[in-house]
Symmetry: C3
Subunit: 420 residues, 3 copies
């Protein structure tokens, strides 16, 4: 396998230009292979609000003449979904999902793709208008990229929007393993109104047999892990926003199901897709945006109430961590006699689901498996998992957007009250 | 557990106001706990057409100063899905789903919530803009409501639309058991055009093992009962409309699947979501509106043809009652020899599905289980189940909207005709 | 059973008009029962671009006075999904799905329906505004059509759009067997901008046990075959388009799942549903249009880049042919020792899925079963199946639209390149 330096040099030769970096826009990174943090501002013009990827990263680049040069490395990676659970996934540049590529309309870009996977791959630029031979459909528009090889894609961006990249070679398996990333193209001219906060979250679902660590790519329906940027609650970072900020959230979905993402505390407009901005005459107001498979959805809103507002998938099983769907239905069944007998042999045994599931976050589970419902909030257990996070809206953020401001302190008299 | 009187008095003390009813807007109900019928008009201004809930109910209120006071009681309830099948569900105020809360933009409301379930709960006001502490996310914005306790929520309504309420505590189980209701906010100023008929239907799916009565809340995919306002065809009430009426239907979905609801006889516009009214420039004409999970959809139309027009989910398994999905495929298999032998021991035995399923509504089934396809129409068996009802459109309704006008009498020469 | 001539004569008597053909608009067909090819132009006005059904057909008609007379014959049919796999389906006029009915706003039409199935049926005109008795809901608006019988429907078209027909009698089974067709109504006045190419594709999913040939109509979720116009890749015909052409694609879905159809190379606007044209103020730009069950979606676009552009469902399992979902997860498991031992008895044995699935198109399979991933492209195996085809966009089409122009010849320097 070639070194990065070799690849860059070879790339320069193959494509007829010099790849020696002329101006490094991503000066905080020691290498093109090493992703930037999710809140980095990789050389964007002043009119652009950089996107923030909670729990995610961005891909750095170097300039080669007028060309932004990126380097994606397809790899097996270990990804912690939440404290206590590490998954053997596939991704790019040591990350799962892959680092976001964040560019500007009019940019010419070159993406080097090195395949360090055990099988061949390719990269398709989902939604990007480009020459047919750069489309990345292995077999149809190019050969497969064999393990160990490096290929170059190069094209000029003629659009704006929230796009994606993913393999188009054994794509069912490779996407099930986590191989995907954002490809975000900012407009050349400022769009109005300007957004103050711009987040991007990739939705994904997985089946990992409890007690194991490798996703099962053959599963079509019965998934048991549901993630935001490949993290499951309580492993998901909050979105930090100021009251009055205009917030955009970009959602992407390459799983097998649509995910209806629900935001508490405010209504929003759906303002964009992977096809680009939706004209404002066509905006729909929503509290929940259903993100179909193979699409992205942008929404925008302004909070006028501070607080800790939940943001989650509204399919109720998608805000749970692994649970057995094959258990007998014990709801309402009096298990006291049998529980008594079991406790003689197993002190502390608790009958399951007799009155509901609200106590099941306290139950035992196999190693490397998340509790089904978990996460302590300021008022007790939150009893969620999976696709769940919190938008923390504050009137003041003394330490800025990049620090979790902690739990919201409700003004007296504004919380639901026990009266009997 | 406190009595209702205690709860009201305690509420008054806790919230600093008097809860003695000053003006009873729901004079037909003896108690705040007892729901009103689905076509009640609970103290709405003249410009509002009250919503009708086929097979459903509404929550009454009393005024406390300028505050509308409601009382939701979370309970286990028995619900008849259709004649011959009663389900042990969970709901509110003896009903499943819960009674609709129907209010007006600008109202200040107080909702007392008493938990008579065997486990803790909370109430989230889906899509309502309110102070964070009133959002009902147990653990995050308030403690869980323990069994036997009563809590008060209070907020002012700053929007209009078709919203919902449901638990945000063990919510996967509690919603699977049926805990949800409409929260409909009428606009303060009349919207144009005025609707003549305004219906609301909650979509839900369940798994009840044939022969049992308790829904299995662990089921994620393989549901076997599909309901409109917790009723399955032929248990669903018709929607009665006059030719030329402007009809609105509000659909809500807190199940695990999107439900594409199809209306015969007319095209409609999708005019609202739980985010509020859709501007008319953004309306889509449809014959089928897909209602994603965690959303509501309003549509509006005017029938110019009288008749009995079907309204149903277009996922074909969702217009069936329980059937075994694990049966071997006998379609086209000649079972005559084996049927002959079986009939020696079991007179009248009929081979299954040899030529299709059109005869299966006549087959035997376990106790407390609905026939798979059922319902006799004016022209023979309708062969449907589940999410199916009929919009009865008539030029004249001598006995008004609240009485089923019977089957449509087709004018001669307007019915498909056998010609050979 | 009556002959076609009898049926027509009887129809004439029953309906009071003469059915002797006055002007045959479909002169290329010897019989009303025999479908026209998918690119036929059945007597349409000059301002209309006729629809093309890749791998599909259209229904001919004869004129009876001012009435267009069609004849649908419900039948069991054999359908080749792709070379090597024939399915025992149900359909119309020897075809599965049924031939498209392509008519014009203002037309008066009569459709004779003969039932040659082993069970009763009916035909519902999905989305068509008509007298209630012509709606085809067996039991509700007419009796069921018994085997051997012929019925007549007659109505005048008062709308335009991409509609459908399908049974409304044992409809779950009959639709699962493939009984459905397009019902396309062109506008009376030209719509602007005119489209140059207008395609129609019916989406369907099936479960056919590998090695058998009859779809299992009881399957609700776990389908294993996914088709465009009842063909699976590599059996799907390409869509041939010129650079700069305005292309419309009409998608219809009567399966059990939404299908997000993704087009490479260009963004499109969603311009219509079965409810009719969407006003342009409400158009959404997309790269993937999710087609909900029980709906149609039209989209329009103009390619500015020639090439071979993939068009496929973005649910990754829907671009696969049958595979076992119950296999153990062998990804990353070293099977070399056990493979060595198996090869002693079974020379050539290849361990499955150890490094991925990219090699599984080479594996053995039961008779009458398609390879999971298949189809050779100009650059190697395409590794897809199911709902996949190619839009072939060319600057010049010397032999016209109706001939496959072969693989795209990429100009030098426009294909992704191996550089290391």
């Amino acid at each position: 396998m070639k070194t990065r330096r070799d690849v860059l040099r070879t790339g320069a030769i193959a494509l007829g230009g010099s790849l020696l970096p002329q101006r490094v826009h991503a000066s905080t990174t020691p290498s093109l292979r090493t992703p930037l943090p999710g809140h980095a501002t990789p050389g964007l013009p002043d009119h652009v609000t950089p996107v923030v990827l909670p729990n995610g990263t961005k891909l750095p680049y170097v300039m080669d003449g007028g060309v932004k040069v990126f380097h994606l490395v397809a790899q097996t990676v270990k990804r912690e979904f939440a404290p206590g659970m590490v998954v053997d996934a596939w991704g790019y540049n040591g990350e799962c999902h892959g680092p976001a590529i964040e560019v500007v309309e009019g940019d010419r870009i070159r993406v080097l793709v090195t395949n360090e996977l055990p099988e061949r791959t390719s990269v398709h630029w989902h939604g990007v208008r480009l020459p047919n031979g750069m489309d990345g459909v292995a077999g149809l528009t190019q050969p497969h990229i064999e393990p160990g090889d490096t290929w170059a894609y190069e094209f000029t961006l003629r659009q704006q929007g929230t796009l994606m990249y993913h393999p188009h070679s054994d794509e069912m398996l490779q996407m099930a393993m986590g191989m995907m990333g954002f490809f975000i193209i900012h407009p050349q001219q400022p769009r109005r109104p300007r957004v103050d906060r711009d987040f991007a979250i990739f939705l994904q679902e997985w089946f990992v047999e409890p007690g194991t660590s490798t996703p099962d790519p053959m599963v079509m329906l019965d998934f048991n892990l549901f993630t935001f940027n490949a993290r499951a609650w309580p492993g998901t970072a909050p979105l930090v926003v100021r009251t009055g900020d205009r917030m955009r959230v970009r959602l992407a979905n390459l799983s097998m199901d649509s995910h209806p993402i629900h935001l508490h505390g405010v209504s929003f407009n759906v303002t964009g897709t992977d096809g680009g901005p939706i004209p404002s005459t066509a905006w729909w107001p929503e509290n929940t945006v259903s993100v179909p498979v193979g699409t992205t959805r942008d929404f925008e809103c302004v909070f006028d109430e501070p607080g800790d507002w939940a943001l989650h998938c509204h399919k109720s099983h998608h805000t749970m961590n692994p649970m057995g769907h094959q258990l007998p239905n014990m709801l309402g069944v009096d298990q006291s006699a049998v529980a008594e007998r079991i406790r003689k042999h197993l002190p502390g045994y608790m009958p399951m689901m007799e009155t509901g599931m609200g106590n099941m976050h306290e139950m035992g589970r196999p190693k490397n498996t998340l509790p089904m419902m978990t996460g302590d909030g300021p008022f007790g257990p939150i009893e969620m998992g999976g696709m769940f996070t919190i938008v923390k809206v504050r009137n003041e953020l003394p330490r800025g957007y990049d620090e979790d401001p902690g739990w919201y302190a409700h003004p007296p008299g504004t919380v639901a009250t026990k009266i009997g």
